[in-house]
Amino acid sequence: MAGIDIEGLATVYPNGVRAVDGLDLHVADGEFFALLGPSGCGKTTLLRTIAGLENASEGTVRIDVADVTRMEPGKRGVAMVFQDYALFPHMTVSENITYPLKVRRVAAATRTATAGRTSSELSLQGLLERRPGQLSGGQQQRVALARAIASEGKVLLLDEPLSNLDARLRLEARTFLKKLQRDLGITTVFVTHDQAEALALADRIAVMQNGRLRQLGSPREVFARPANTFVANFIGSTPMNLLDGAVAAVSDGGSVSVANGSLPAATGSVPAGAEVTVGVRPEYLTLSDGDVNGPSLRGEVVVAENLGTSSLVSVDCGGTLIGVTVPEESEPAPGTSVVLTAPEQRVLLYDRESGELLAKQPAAVG
């Protein structure tokens, strides 16, 4: 088992595009690590550079201390599962799983044993003699995983592991994948554009944009305290409210004026009067119909969207629409006058220009 160390890595395509642009990253031994970002952010290129399928233009990649930057993919001790699984259609499941061993000229008896063991680990018993075309999407994925595991790499790379499955199967496969990774304890890096998938699976997430790292942290950190407005926008199934505001008070119980009211905020070192972007997640806002103590916003319910166990309510606060989630059954009717407020540590202040998180408030993680 091994960690991955990436230093100053850049991958430049012949047309001059810097798909990965000066990246430093450390993936710990046994960690389940997500590369997350919108399409074209360089996450897949980064994964392929770790695999050796793309050549690094600058910087180094180390796997288990050894520098593999210029090494052939087959010699890096890395196994990869492709987005389309890349199973060989003319081989049986068993032949597919043991193909890495066949390449290394491992004896047939050992290969059969590996096929048996790996297939039971991935609940593929009874399918060994089938061809990939006769399997469901979920089974194909497990065969691809089995093949990757059978190659006994030190690191497992997954390219969009769940994107080829339909919605219901995806949840099942997600649970399966997380349990498998825990059981095997193999260092795993996966690429996804789906923030929910990254939050659900990963121990740590690297959020990328334009080939650069925008935030690195645990799912909780990335969700609760996005380091910048890009991450704030990208993470979360309901978008974070990003509102123009100004610091109103900086003493204990500081506040920011937003829209037609104000919200409590730990302003830290941000001076009073500073123009900021105020970020607050709909999930962290509370909606009430009576007066509340402390800074709050008043508005009128415009529309409520049902999300299943909760509803996303859009509230018009003096011309600014603010989203807030409320539990099911307590959804206010459109037109109702409401008051919004949020806990101080959930209101984040971003620099208006750079979009970076201001005021290193004490982390409200936990």
Binding site: A51, L53, E72, P73, G74, K75, V78, A79, M80, F82, Q83, D84, Y85, A86, F88, P89, H90, M91, Y99, P100, K102, V103, R104, R147, S151
Partner: protein
């Protein structure tokens, strides 16, 4: 009374509905569309073929009494062919020619070019493709002239390059020259066919093989070849048939020296027009047709077993 006629329940009106075929033409009109093509095929392919079979059982000659009133000789042309050493020689040379220039030469060179050009820079790829294609699209007479100049004993390019002035390549090594010539001439087709076949191999499967450390040969054997098997069969059949029927060897060597490069089509020509024995040459033509048919049937069988 209503002006419209109500259909009687249970007895649908006998209306001719739209034709049930994909294009909605119906048999009559569909036949109308293919009739011109069928007429042309009948006039220029089926009739000559049947005529050849007929001539093959006569003693028809180019000149003389038999040219005016040929008589039916039954299968004697065929029995003659079975014992004709020159025909056996022609069959053997055709086999060599097909094996060397088509099955091995064009197939392997075409695949090698397609495989290496896959990752080459577009400029290189396009240049190579254009050059290879040029060899294919030039008229046979032009190409034959170029190769005669290339192999020429006194002023040939090959002798200048190798410094072997005085070597008459087309006389000393006629079959080797023909095989090289035809490989050069026909590789374009295999290259293009394999180029498009290789695009059907999913890149992720090639990369999967690369990830597990498969060598180039292992990748070809385990990943690429199973994907393009059908293409290999199709290509091999087509180029084999074309090569077996190819007449351009005549343009280079006329079958000589002393029948050393006389493949079956060249032999047929020599028998018919040099020897004037049209009946006998027709019989041999028919035998060549049968051989081609057998190869095609074998191929179809292989292809069907695959799927």
């Amino acid at each position: 009374m209503s002006a419209t006629t109500e259909p009687v329940p249970g007895r649908p009106a006998r209306v001719r509905g739209p034709a049930q075929d994909v294009a909605g033409l119906g048999i009559g009109r569909a036949f109308g569309f293919v009739a011109p093509a069928l007429l042309l095929i009948g006039a220029f392919l089926v009739f000559p073929a049947l005529w050849t079979i007929y001539i093959g059982i006569t003693n028809y000659r180019l000149t003389g009494v038999e040219a005016v009133s040929p008589s039916i000789v039954g299968l004697s042309n065929y029995t003659r062919a079975l014992n004709d050493a020159l025909f056996h020689n022609a069959l053997w040379l055709t086999l060599l020619f097909v094996l060397g220039s088509a099955i091995i030469g064009q197939n392997f060179l075409g695949f090698a070019l397609a495989w290496t050009m896959r990752r080459a820079r577009p400029v290189v790829r396009r240049t190579v493709e254009a050059l290879v294609l040029l060899a294919w699209i030039l008229p046979s007479t032009v190409v034959a002239y170029l190769w005669i100049a290339f192999f020429d004993r006194d002023t040939g390019t090959l002798n200048s390059i190798l410094g072997t002035q005085g070597t008459a390549w087309l006389i000393e090594y006629p079959m080797a020259c023909l095989i090289i010539f035809n490989t050069w001439r026909g590789t374009a087709f295999s290259m293009m066919l394999y180029s498009s076949a290789l695009q059907a191999v999913p890149p992720s499967q090639l990369e999967s093989a690369r990830m597990v450390g498969a060598s180039g040969w292992q990748t070809l054997r385990d990943v690429v070849f199973p994907h393009i098997r059908g293409h290999v069969l199709t290509n091999t059949l087509l180029i084999s048939l074309w090569t077996a029927n190819d007449f351009s060897p005549f343009l280079l060597t006329k079958g000589g020296p002393n029948h050393e490069s006389e493949t079956v089509p060249v032999y047929i020509y020599n028998v018919a027009l040099q020897g004037g024995e049209l009946g006998y040459s027709s019989a041999i033509s028919f035998l060549l047709l049968i051989a081609n048919l057998l190869v095609a049937l074998l191929y179809l069988r292989l292809l069907r077993r695959r799927s």
